[in-house]
Symmetry: C3
Subunit: 264 residues, 3 copies
């Protein structure tokens, strides 16, 4: 089974995703294409990398994950492919893939060479839509096994740093941020649950609000703001039967901290 | 052909639907997954049940319909599967499935037992995303035939009552509500066309507006509000070449009535 | 490989697209269905035709392209199918298909006859959802080869004129319009790049703003409005790292002109 996942900031307007699928199916007839999400905030590479990092393990081995959040399209930015954890990853070299834990350290990473691309017989790429003109046929070549990542260009050891830093602590306070906001208004942060192990009774703060950790969405009283470890292993701020984004006015990028309750 | 349909309130932001598909494909390679809708209003089980009830017959026999609108995730609510009308249905026991006509009376309904789940070798479920951790692999087990619904746990005869009541009449006036509003702004109600047979010249009312029934969207003069029986067999309020939701300011849950014109 | 593409103004709310796929899969088990876009502005046939015309070549030969933007559903409007450029097209006869270059002149175009439809054994169609009741089973019949377009009804030579005229020039000034606005706020026009060949240094204008052509999204200084030829071969107005629709307040249908810079 050949599976390609797509992660973009293309949204649902227009045929951008559909035409990428057309090119994939031309080059990899019968491939299964799964939309991971197309609602990454425009040019917000951090969200694309965050979701890829937190979801790729649910896919079968040999899945090809293609992420196209590409503000530098048409410039000199590199295109890279990585083999990591029995799966393949393909994206512009802008810090999306290096958000995947261990990838920068342990994966085989290759950059697409202009020479290899020119030998594929693909139409000359546009300057503004490499998702269709380069990434789609390349993903198809990888998923069908017609190309291995070592075929497409030289190995590199200097991919761009992660587009979004991990949450950091100074011993007393952990400092992270809101990476994304879901359909229900939950604020999803980059604070990994493992970082919370150093606290006895962690208190999560956003702006002037201080929240205790609960276990489920329904555990807090209706209307109450609370925090929990979500199903992707990070701190999330929710409003029971409400919309935390509306209640708090919080936006993507806003600071979220964790400290010991007793220290307050 | 193994088909699974998905109906959720997950929206398009984030990888929630995509990761459910990952798990389904892991457990049921080659399955066809159809998105019925992911734009159910958050936690509005009535809309999920309404659409399932009105659409499942269009799918081939043996389709597995999975609905995950699940405000009680992580609490003690049951998970149920039903065999009805040659198709299979899977959802939290919160009144979604019992909106399907005849299901509460005639279907075989089983609840998922904790014991059976634990024997499947699935990863330990999270507290907040059973769509991925329980429903997806269970749907895959059912669609591949690896499990029958009688395997997953005991039969039950007391599923939760329908999340949304049927429209009701007192002889003179039928009383229903707006279940959902579509992309064009049409107000879709729970008033079934069969209930209208008792009227000679039905008059549909929402707020202070009284509307006659027409046959098609283009039958009314431009800008006119009118009512019709839509293609799913219920009363719908539309604005010719306009947006009825904007014109009326109506919201989900608003009351819609039908009475005899001459009685006015 | 049997591929059907879908282009509609149905949006994501409700099961309208999902139920069309149900009917397609009933009649064409195993078909691959690609969503081209469902976010055409309500009843805006020009956008549907524009995107079909600019994308169909990316799909494999024998793909069936189904467009359902159908304000006249239930009225006497015709349903037509066209064989053009090794692909098949199916839509209401409202000027969507005739936006495809050369189709009106060179394609074989047939209209669906009532007699043929009645012999298919399909359920009686509703008055308001021919996408599900006629177009979906018809697309399935065409993609499986069970019907050829000459089977479904008589050839016609008078399909409706293109829903959206091409940009026009008077020698000095080209005059086009904004056809659609994408997720990033880029204003996509109907001004084909070939029309620009007559200019030495084209200046693109929208409202009071005059813009020079650049090559890529990142070529302009941050915040600057600029114009470029996009990857579909038409003039597009973009704001570097911004949202051109918000910056300009432009809407679908707004006039965009091109003239010689030196003539200003």
């Amino acid at each position: 089974m050949a599976i390609i996942t797509l992660t973009t900031d293309f949204g649902a307007r227009g045929p951008f995703v559909g035409v990428m699928k057309a090119v994939i199916l031309r080059h990899a007839p019968g491939a299964t294409i799964i939309d991971l999400t197309h609602e990454v905030a425009p040019c917000w590479c951090g969200e694309a990398g965050f979701w890829l990092a937190r979801t790729y393990r649910y896919f079968p081995a040999a899945t090809v994950h293609l992420a196209v959040v590409d503000p530098g399209v048409g410039s000199e930015r590199r295109i890279i492919a990585a083999a990591h954890d029995e799966q393949l990853f393909l994206a512009p070299d802008n810090g999306i893939l290096t958000m995947i834990p261990g990838l920068a350290q342990r994966a085989r990473v290759h950059r697409l060479s202009e020479g290899w691309r020119q030998h594929q017989g693909w139409p000359e790429p546009s300057r503004t839509f490499h998702g269709r003109d380069i990434f789609a046929p390349l993903a198809a070549a990888l998923v069908t096994g017609r190309a291995r990542i070592e075929d497409i260009g030289p190995a590199i050891t200097d991919p761009q740093r992660a587009a979004l830093a991990e949450a950091e602590g100074d011993g007393a306070t952990l400092r992270g941020q809101v990476v994304t906001i879901d359909t229900w208004g939950n604020l999803i942060t980059n604070i990994d649950e493992r970082l919370l192990h150093e606290f006895t009774e962690p208190l999560v703060a956003i702006g002037e609000r201080h929240l205790t950790l609960t276990q489920t969405y329904s555990a807090a009283a209706p209307g109450m703001l609370h925090a929990l470890i979500n199903s992707f292993g990070v701190v999330e701020i929710a409003s029971s039967r409400g919309n935390a984004a509306e209640v708090t006015g919080a936006k993507r990028g806003d600071v979220v901290t964790v400290r010991e309750r007793s220290s307050g």
